[in-house]
């Protein structure tokens, strides 16, 4: 049962449209992320977004420390936010600098990035990016923290849904759609490699992405070929992917 009056909503939105130009979805997302750390009292927050090859890249962060967190993960292909995206679940760490799961991060991180939490941002039920927050000291995350972050991520998802339906959807929306279109085949390829080589999802994805980069091809294209969906061209030995 709906609890919204569509006619009243349209009348008010028309009023808001007057005398103002659109500022774009990226600008709005940036403002939303700036609100999140003030709302929860975190040291900083950021947003990472999946490119067409399912690689996370940082869209923005609230400060330089947060940028180092997102950049380090984009460079190494590992970290709490990458894990949150690949596993489609909340991932936290008390102290990312000493966490043995991601040893390569330490050297690239700003020293004041310590406690980190990442939650997936989903469209159509599948992850397309992550909302990331950090604390400048080691931090024990509670379940209530991740629940609140999931709720906040849900609001971001609704903003993305609204912008996706606009006439002016462009780069970001296209990237989101691309990620959605090719996610299934990439996920299947990851599953194939996990089963064949006894890998974790993160290891399988990293190997797939590396092979795609090395051969200057898209991850989705390589994934499809691995699965035999686009013939066997250019895949001399699928096992070399890992």
């Amino acid at each position: 049962m709906t609890h919204i009056d569509p006619e009243a909503l349209v009348a008010s939105l028309r009023r808001l449209q007057k005398d103002r130009s659109a500022t774009g979805i990226v600008h709005h997302l940036e403002r939303i992320v700036q609100v999140v750390d003030r709302l929860f009292g975190y040291s900083g927050a950021g947003l990472m977004f999946a490119e067409e090859d399912r690689t996370l890249r940082y869209l923005f962060a609230t400060d330089e420390r947060g940028r180092s967190l997102e950049r380090a993960q984009a460079v190494t292909g590992q970290g709490p936010c990458v894990a949150a995206y690949v596993g489609d679940t909340a991932v936290t760490t008390v102290d990312v600098r000493t966490d043995r799961r991601w040893p390569a991060l330490r050297e690239l991180l700003h020293p004041e990035v310590r406690g980190v939490a990442g939650v997936p941002i989903r469209l159509g039920g599948v992850p397309v990016g992550t909302l990331n927050v950090y604390q400048d000291a080691p931090h024990e995350w509670q379940e209530s923290d991740t629940q609140a972050l999931h709720a906040y991520a849900h609001v971001i998802e609704q903003v993305l849904v609204a912008s996706m339906e606009a006439d002016e959807k462009a780069v970001l929306a296209d990237q989101l759609q691309y990620a959605l279109d090719y996610r299934v085949v990439i996920e299947r390829a990851i599953g194939y490699l996990m089963g064949k080589h006894d890998l974790t999802a993160s290891q399988a994805f990293t190997g797939l992405r590396k092979q795609a980069r090395d051969s200057r091809r898209k991850v989705s294209e390589l994934a499809a070929e691995l699965l035999g969906e686009q013939g066997q061209r250019n895949v001399a030995n699928p096992d070399h992917v890992v």
Partner: protein
């Protein structure tokens, strides 16, 4: 339900979850600068907003008039602590926190958070309510810009 309405309902539900209250409701100014009930997360919220719109009084109306937060521990309390003439039309609702929605220094509406039990809204909750009000303004801007009956002028 239109997609805009669906998005707004989901956002209100997400905000109520974030805040840890029973519900959230929205009133917005229309083209004639009248505060109109837009919707809520449940029937109790719809009753609260409809009552305020029809009576012309209540925490949201007061918030819109003053441009500040209005925190009511018990809507049923005698005036000026409560709004018994509004409460009679929204019986299940007790505590209300009304947050003015400001865009570019201009009031565009009021966001109400409510609980079915009486409660005193503390400073931290008032601060959180303000932040969620900022978030709602952004959501409304996105919805306004996303409407197809506007001239495309934005860029990413």
């Amino acid at each position: 339900m239109t997609s805009d309405a669906s998005v707004l309902e989901n956002v209100l539900t997400g905000m109520a979850d974030l805040f840890g209250v029973d519900g959230a409701a929205l009133m917005l100014l229309d083209g004639q600068n009248r505060l109109r009930a837009i919707g809520a997360t449940d029937d109790d919220g719809v009753l609260l907003e409809s009552a305020q719109e029809s009576v012309g009084d209540g925490p949201a109306i007061e918030s819109a008039a003053s441009g500040g937060l209005v925190a009511i521990p018990d809507l049923h309390a005698a005036s000026p602590m409560g709004f018994p003439h509004v409460a009679v039309h929204a019986q299940p609702v007790r505590a209300v926190l009304s947050v003015p929605l400001i865009e570019d220094c201009e009031l565009i509406g009021v966001l109400d958070f409510y609980a079915r039990d009486g409660r005193v809204w503390d400073r931290t909750e008032a601060e959180a309510g303000s932040r969620l009000g900022e978030l709602m303004v952004i959501v409304l801007q996105v919805l306004a810009e996303s409407r197809t009956d506007r001239a495309p002028s934005g860029q990413l």
